[in-house]
């Protein structure tokens, strides 16, 4: 029983770690927060590709 509990705990910790890393590395929070501002206060999202 203790082994099962420890395994579940490890899995939950691992899942939380991966989720946290994903949210930190892959989510553009500046765009998400900006999209929730009133239109007049919103910054414009300007797209570019790495060419000249």
């Amino acid at each position: 029983m203790a082994t099962l509990g420890r395994t579940i705990g490890l899995l939950l910790t691992w899942t939380a770690l991966i989720t946290g890393l994903h949210l930190w590395l892959n989510v553009d929070w500046s765009i998400l927060f900006n999209d929730r501002l009133p239109e007049g206060e919103r910054k414009l999202n300007v797209a570019y590709i790495p060419v000249t």
């Binding site: 414009l44 570019y48 590709i49 000249t52």
Partner: protein
């Protein structure tokens, strides 16, 4: 490139720059209103507007800056040598496509005499290095990447066949133009000032190469220095107001190549008032050292 100091406008940071790897994804983000403005190739902007997408061209990103590159030790030494070979372009809806068509025609060749393939810009130099393609037509810094790598040689620059060549243009969604014209003007003013600053001389170009390579393009600053600072006429960042004659030529070439289905007039896809508003702008006063350390 021109957007990098425009973030720091008089009103503070008004813009969030977002990098894409290829034009199709960028186009979709504009259509879905995830992006309110963007730098895309001029023919794509014209085609989107003709299809009813609510965007307008308000400014250019630069002039020149594209080239056709072949293998350094390969058999292609003239445009006529391209016959039957495979040449990569970023999109059928790109000026880099139209410049190839121009060059072929000027050399008495038919557009179909070269096998054109679409390829994302970051992939072309590697494809040329391993001989997956024979040539590519692309904007900087990819011609420079092939030159620096020792396997590429410029066959011709865009301006050799198209004086005052333009490629990327700034498009803005029509709802933003209607509701927030002052924000659009601030963006265009910032780009105009950035362009003038970039064209002031080599130290500014080198500072921009370092800054943009590190924080925007995620490319080696040395590569951007090669593209921007060795020859200052390789890419030019002034004279960026949209001109009807330039766009009429692009539109007519698109009609001839079948990438545009109907004749669309300049006023339908360009809004010149923001370029007019930026006409009196002067270069930013940043010293190059402060730009790199920012």
């Amino acid at each position: 490139m021109t957007d990098y100091v425009s973030r720091f406008s008089r009103e503070g940071s008004l813009f969030i720059p977002k990098k894409f790897q290829a034009f199709p994804e960028l186009k979709d983000a504009l259509i879905a209103n995830r992006m309110q403005a963007g730098f895309i190739v001029a023919p794509m902007a014209i085609a989107l507007r003709s299809q009813g997408v609510p965007i307008k061209i308000v400014y250019l990103g630069h002039r020149y800056g594209s080239a056709v590159v072949v293998r350094r030790d390969g058999p292609v030494h003239t445009v006529r040598d391209l016959a039957g070979r495979t040449l990569a372009i970023p999109s059928r809806f790109a000026d880099e496509h139209l410049i190839v068509i121009q060059a072929l025609r000027r050399n008495g060749m038919k557009p179909g005499s070269v096998h054109l393939v679409e390829m994302a810009p970051p992939d072309v130099a590697g494809a040329l290095a391993v001989s997956a393609i024979d040539a590519f037509s692309m904007g900087e810094p990819y011609p420079s990447q092939a030159e620096m790598g020792g396997y590429g040689r410029i066959l011709f620059k865009a301006q050799d066949y198209w004086p005052d060549y333009m490629s990327c243009v700034l498009v803005v969604r029509q709802d933003v133009i209607d509701r927030r014209p002052s924000a659009v003007q601030a963006l265009v003013d910032g780009i105009a000032r950035s362009g003038l600053w970039l064209d002031e001389g080599r130290p500014n170009r080198e500072a921009a190469a370092d800054f943009v390579g590190r924080y925007y393009f995620n490319q080696p600053p040395g590569l951007l220095r090669w593209a921007l600072a060795r020859d200052l006429t390789r890419v030019v960042y002034s004279r960026l107001a949209p001109r009807k004659a330039d766009f009429d030529m692009v539109r007519d070439l698109m009609l001839q190549t079948g990438t545009l289905k109907r004749k669309i007039e300049f006023d339908e896809y360009v809004d010149t008032r923001f370029a007019d508003g930026a006409a009196g702008e002067t270069a930013w006063t940043y010293a190059p050292a402060s730009a790199t350390s920012r």
